[in-house]
C-alpha cells in the first residue's frame, strides 16, 4: 500500500512537471504567434510558410495581408501579386493591398502593367490612397520612353514640399543631357580625340590624340626619309587608330547616355525607396 502511495505521489509530481512544459506547437494560436515573431524578425520566407499553415478559417485580414507582404519582401513578386489580388474588398487591408500591387509593378519594372492596372482597377476599386496611386502612376513615366504628360498634369498629385524635386526629375526626363554621337564623331574626325573630350572622356581623348598623331608623324617622317614601305605601314596604323578614334567617339557618346540614364533611374529608385513608394509604414511589429 505504501509503495503504491509512493508511486502515486511520484506520478503526480511528474504529471505536474509535464503540464508546465506542455505546449501545443501546432495549435492555430501558437502557429500565428510564431509566424508573427518570424515576420518581425524579418525571416519573411519562414513567416509566409508558417502563416500559410493556418487553415483559411484561422486567417484574419491581417494574416492574409502579411502573407502577401512576406512574399513581396522576399522578391517573390508573382506570389505576392497573387496574394494581394486575392484580398477581398471587405478586408481591412484591401486598399493597402491595391497600393502594394502598384509598388510590385514598379519593382518588377512593369510600368505598362502598372498604368493599365491603375486606370482599370485602382481608380474604381480603391477608397483610399488615390493620390498615392496617382503619384506612382505619374512616376512610371520617368522610367519609360513614352510621351510625358504636361508638366502641370504631372506635378498635380505631388505635395508642395516635393514639387521642386519632382519638377527636376521631370525636366531631366523631358530634356535629358545626352551627348550627340554624330557630333562626337565629326569632332573626332576633325581633331582626333576631341569627340571623346566632348563626351567627357578626357583621358581617352588625349590618348586617342597622342596615338593618332604620333603614328601619323612617324609615317610622315618615314616618307620624308624615303622609307616608303615603312611609311605606308605606319600610315595604315595611323589610319586605323584614327578610324578607331572616330568610331570610339560615337560609341562613347552612346555609353555616356546609357550611364546618365542609369544614374537618373538610380536616383528615382533611391527617392521612391526613401518615400517607401508613398505607402505608409505598417506598425505590425511595435
Amino acid at each position: 500500500m505504501k509503495i503504491v502511495f509512493l508511486f502515486f505521489l511520484l506520478c503526480i509530481t511528474a504529471v505536474q512537471n509535464a503540464q508546465t512544459g506542455n505546449v501545443d506547437f501546432n495549435s492555430p494560436d501558437n502557429i500565428k504567434k510564431f509566424a508573427d515573431y518570424l515576420f518581425c524578425d524579418k525571416d519573411y520566407l519562414r513567416a509566409a510558410i508558417e502563416y500559410e499553415r493556418l487553415a483559411d478559417i484561422n486567417r484574419s485580414d491581417i494574416i492574409e495581408f502579411k502573407i502577401a507582404l512576406s512574399y513581396s519582401y522576399i522578391n517573390d513578386y508573382y506570389s505576392a501579386i497573387q496574394k494581394f489580388s486575392g484580398i477581398i474588398k471587405s478586408s481591412v487591408y484591401f486598399n493597402e493591398a491595391k497600393l502594394e500591387e502598384m509598388k510590385i509593378n514598379f519593382l518588377n519594372n512593369d510600368f505598362a502593367g502598372l498604368r493599365s492596372y491603375f486606370k482599370n482597377s485602382f481608380i474604381t476599386e480603391v477608397d483610399k490612397y488615390q493620390t498615392e496611386g496617382e503619384k506612382l502612376f505619374n512616376f512610371s513615366y520617368l522610367f519609360t520612353d513614352d510621351a510625358l504628360p504636361s508638366k502641370d498634369e504631372f506635378l498635380s498629385p505631388f505635395d508642395f514640399n516635393e514639387k521642386e524635386k519632382i519638377s527636376s526629375f521631370y525636366d531631366w526626363k523631358n530634356e535629358p543631357p545626352y551627348k550627340d554621337g554624330t557630333l562626337a564623331g565629326i569632332m573626332s574626325a576633325v581633331i582626333p580625340g576631341s569627340g571623346k573630350i566632348y563626351v567627357g572622356e578626357i583621358g581617352d581623348g588625349i590618348v586617342a590624340f597622342i596615338t593618332t598623331t604620333v603614328f601619323a608623324f612617324i609615317a610622315y617622317d618615314n616618307f620624308k626619309a624615303g622609307h616608303t614601305t615603312r611609311a605606308w605601314i605606319w600610315t595604315s596604323v595611323a589610319a586605323l587608330f584614327y578610324a578607331g578614334n572616330v568610331y570610339g567617339s560615337v560609341a562613347a557618346a552612346q555609353v555616356h547616355n546609357a550611364k546618365i540614364t542609369f544614374e537618373f533611374n538610380e536616383g528615382l529608385n533611391v527617392y521612391l525607396n526613401k518615400k517607401n513608394y508613398y505607402i505608409t509604414k505598417y506598425e505590425f511589429c511595435d
Partner: protein, 294 residues
C-alpha cells in the same frame, strides 16, 4: 499436510497480491512517465529527425519554434547548436557561426563549451578563414580547462594548415599526435610533390623559360627563351650599332615585356600545378578519408 497446503496457498496468494500490487504500481508509473515526457522534448526530437533526414531548412524552423516557446531557456544550448549545424550543412557559414556562438554562451559545462568552440573552428576551416581558426585554436590550447583535448585540438590545427596550403606545418602538427599519423604521411607526400614557386621565379630571372620548363611546360619555356634571346640579340645589336633609340625601344617594348611575361608564367604555372596537387589531396580528404572532417 492440509495445513501446509493452506500455508503454501496463503503464501502464494500473498505473493500474488504483492506481485499484483507491484505490477499495478509499475504500470501506473510507466503510464505517468510517458505522459510526463513534455512537448519540448518531442519537438526537439522532431527537429533531430528532420536533421537526420537532411531537411535542414525545416530543422531550423522547428528549432526556432522551440526556442520561441521555451520561456525557461532550457533548450538554448541544444537548439542553437543544432541550428548552427544545420546552417553549416547548407554552407551558410556566417549564420552557422552566429548560432554556434549563441550555443557557446549557453553552454553549461566544459564538454558543451568545447563542442561549440570546435564547431566554430571547423566552420572557419571550411570557409578558409584559417587565420581566425588559428586564433581560436590558440585560445583553446592556452586554456587549461581543455588540456585533456590537446590531441584533438592539434588534429584540427593540422586541418587548418592543410586548408591554408601549409602542408609542412600540417605534417609537423599531425606528427605531434602520432609520428605515423595517416594525415602526417599525406601532408608530407603533398609537400614533396609541390613545386617551389620561388625557385621557379628565381631560375627564370637567370635563364628566361627555365621556370616554365621546371614546371613541365616545355613548349612555353622554349618559346619564352626564344623570344628573350631574339629581343636581347636585337637590343644589343642596336646598341653596338649606336642606334640607341632603337635599342631602347626594342628593350622596353619587347624584351622587357617578354622577360616580365616569363617571370609571370613561371610563377603562375608553379602556382597552378600546386593548386592541382593540393586539390587532389583535398578531394581525397573529402571523399576518401574516413576520419573526422571539418
Amino acid at each position: 499436510m492440509s495445513i501446509l497446503i493452506k500455508k503454501i496457498t496463503t503464501l502464494r496468494n500473498m505473493n500474488f497480491v504483492i506481485n499484483r500490487k507491484y505490477f499495478t504500481a509499475t504500470l501506473l508509473f510507466i503510464s505517468c512517465s510517458s505522459f510526463a515526457q513534455n512537448s519540448f522534448d518531442t519537438q526537439f526530437n522532431f527537429a533531430n529527425t528532420l536533421y537526420s533526414d537532411e531537411n535542414y531548412f525545416d530543422t531550423v524552423t522547428e528549432l526556432k519554434r522551440l526556442l520561441f516557446f521555451d520561456d525557461n531557456s532550457e533548450y538554448n544550448y541544444e537548439a542553437n547548436l543544432l541550428i548552427g549545424k544545420s546552417y553549416k550543412q547548407g554552407a551558410k557559414f556566417s549564420d552557422a557561426i552566429r548560432y554556434l556562438t549563441l550555443a557557446e554562451i549557453n553552454a553549461e559545462n566544459i564538454d558543451e563549451l568545447y563542442e561549440t568552440r570546435i564547431e566554430i573552428i571547423r566552420i572557419n576551416i571550411l570557409r578558409r578563414t584559417t587565420r581566425r581558426a588559428f586564433k581560436l585554436l590558440d585560445s583553446l590550447e592556452a586554456d587549461e580547462r581543455f588540456t585533456d583535448w590537446s590531441d584533438k585540438i592539434k588534429y584540427w590545427r593540422g586541418w587548418a594548415y592543410m586548408f591554408a596550403d601549409d602542408w609542412v606545418q600540417a605534417a609537423q602538427t599531425f606528427a605531434e599526435i602520432d609520428t605515423n599519423h595517416v594525415l602526417k604521411r599525406l601532408a608530407e607526400e603533398v609537400d614533396d610533390d609541390l613545386y617551389s614557386v620561388s625557385f621557379a621565379k628565381t631560375i627564370s630571372y637567370i635563364i628566361p623559360g627555365a621556370g616554365q620548363i621546371y614546371t613541365g611546360e616545355y613548349i612555353s619555356g622554349l618559346l619564352s627563351l626564344g623570344w628573350n634571346v631574339l629581343w636581347g640579340y636585337l637590343t644589343i645589336k642596336a646598341f653596338i650599332a649606336e642606334r640607341i633609340f632603337d635599342g631602347i625601344v626594342i628593350a622596353n617594348f619587347l624584351w622587357l615585356r617578354f622577360y616580365r611575361g616569363n617571370l609571370q608564367n613561371a610563377e603562375n604555372f608553379a602556382k597552378e600545378k600546386n593548386m592541382v596537387i593540393s586539390n587532389k589531396a583535398l578531394n581525397y580528404l573529402q571523399f576518401g578519408y574516413d576520419g573526422l572532417k571539418p
